[in-house]
Amino acid sequence: MPVPRAIRFILLSEIVFPFVLLILGVLLGLFQVLARAGILRTDRLLGIEYYQGLTLHGVINAIVFTTLFIVAFSNAVVMFQLRRPLRLPVQWASWVLMIGGTLLAAYAMLTGKATVLYTFYPPLTAHWTFYVGLVLVVVGSLLPFFLDWLPSFLAWRRENPGERIPLAVMGTFVTFFLWFVMVIPVAIEILFILLPVSLGWVETHNPLLARTLFWFFGHPLVYFWLLPSYIMLYTMLPRLVGGKLYSDPAARLAFLLFLVFSVPVGLHHQYTEGGLTAGWKLWHALLTFMVALPSFITAFTVAASMEYGARQRGGQGLFGWWAKLPYFSKEGDQWLFAYFAAGLILFLFGGITGIVNASYNLNLVVHNTSFIAGHFHTTVGGLVTLSFLGMSLYMIAKLRGTEVQLKGLALWAPYLWMIGFVLFEIAMSIAGFQGVPRRTNMGLSYTDPQSPFYRPDWLVNMHITALGGVIAVLGFVLYVISFFATLLARPVREPMVEFPMSEALHDARVPLLHNFRPWVTAMVVLIVFSYWAPLYDSTVRGIKAGSPAYNERFPVPIRQLQTEAPR
């Protein structure tokens, strides 16, 4: 489908701009893994302080890169599937808000005014530009859904009465409806708790309530990252391996189960804090297990689709068909399969460690240890990042009308990334059992022989994580070369938006899966039921005093610093 020039610019820049930032984010990750292993013993690299870099690493990689890519990808998917042009004014408004918001937050982080990490827990308080920047990014990301895709869908439905909503569009709508619901609590946190304190309008705030609202958003956030990957796995991966989607209803059921169970699970990030009643933590643990169900369904459906494709290609036997998948094929668009294959292998680790994290008391062993950071580098840093990178390369080639350049490098990149992060994940997990903390510049304490806290028994695993980090970054470098070569190559085709959409093998029409109302009702009921008590605990029963704002450099409140400092 051909694309007007302005839309092409918007889509391309929504991919390239966060990608350029991602290069910085990945390099900062390398700095962190080397510092934690004690290989670099410093509090800063190239003028960026360790925790400042950690804030940038989290915000760029997990919020900016993901959100902007998801908007670009979803724009293209909706346009391609509904065969309707995007609305230019809406797209420009969204573009300005997201890029402007990113620049505002980047200003705060790069000038050291927002060294609060990407979870920004108060009482540590950032400059107001950080919070406002994040709000603008989120608002910008929601505009296309409400003002462009939904109206287009309604018009499409009028013109195509009785036709099913395409699976990829359905998945996109679930993703963004979920995104809309989950940003409500974090918007309340930012606008009513953090910003007033940051601007000095109020003296004190409630850090427990802020945490509860943050994780009300923070866990469903991971499904906002994951669902676009699942859309690719369901609708595109089967075609790449020469097969069909095993079951269309199963895919739709998985998306709807995510809708119902994604949000009321945030307390599993707050297992170790007093102030919240343990019974409600157990309830959230149960619901977290329920949200694992659609991932089990996805694992089955994706494996079945790949098996079907592999058997079409001559695969035999119970397991022999695995060998027939196009792991290293450069033919056509098949190189993209490597990104999904590597991502899925990483996601195996991510899924299993995720169930450990969710497991209530088992979490006491791993909470805030390096186990957690190991886990999410195989989920958001694994399947999500790899599928987004693969799809970014695919989309820029189509949007520019170029061929993917240096396909060999682009093919090796995901496997190096995978090998690096498997090493990283295993070492981070074992280190976590030993008690190694996350989010800590260990080169200046636990892995420094000069320090009174030196822990030689932690060194081996930290060195393995450093090796893993280096291998992953090598893979990333290969990708960067292929990315820019493709972006800057001479166009050989008409620029367009196109996706390798699959047919479904089992394609029964189940009416319940086409009616959103009961699922949204179940979602709202479950959210209200699961959160009224934790919110009551966070505001009344569990919290005894308000807190003033702090800056990360001084152990006295900001207000006191300002009155005591000579003017």
């Binding site: 925790y51 540590l124 079951s247 007093g274 157990l282 329920m290 369904i297 636990y446 005894k544």
Partner: protein, 145 residues
């Protein structure tokens, strides 16, 4: 849904249910439960170790930028310690290695866990939540003699 899909969903649900039953058993039967809301507990201003009886202690652990108060305690082997954690400034965390003591230190909030130290040795406690520029140097020790 075909036969394989129904079987797969059944197996996944059974597996998750078994995990959940084991968790509940570990929490309620074996005493490995999570900290809960203590509406009557008041945050304290001063960290200290209080001896309540023979081999019975209460540890009021105050977390602050960037140390624990008290930073080091000595107790005899076999002691049972009630650990209460709160924070004087920002959010901190404490993990005592080789134990299930893993608690957040949040200002205005008290987190609690009881633990028994049977084996003599040094147990390092590290701050595991980012709390500012010197977060990596925030650690303490429990010495069991």
């Amino acid at each position: 849904m075909d036969r394989f899909e129904r079987q797969m969903i059944g197996m996944a649900l059974t597996l998750l249910l078994v995990f959940f039953i084991l968790i509940v058993y570990a929490a309620k039967g074996l005493g490995a439960d999570l900290p809960t809301c203590l509406p009557e507990a008041q945050p304290f201003e001063k960290g200290e170790l209080i001896q309540l009886g023979e081999k019975r202690y209460q540890l009021n652990l105050l977390t602050r930028m960037w140390n624990f108060e008290p930073a080091e305690i000595r107790i005899p082997a076999g002691s049972t310690v009630d650990i209460y954690v709160t924070s004087r400034d920002v959010v901190h965390g404490v993990h005592v290695e080789r134990t299930l003591v893993n608690l957040m230190g949040i200002p205005g909030v008290v987190s609690y866990r009881r633990v028994r130290f049977d084996r003599p040795g040094e147990y390092m406690m590290v701050c595991h939540e980012y709390c500012g520029v010197a977060h990596h140097a925030m650690a303490g020790k429990i010495i069991v003699e």
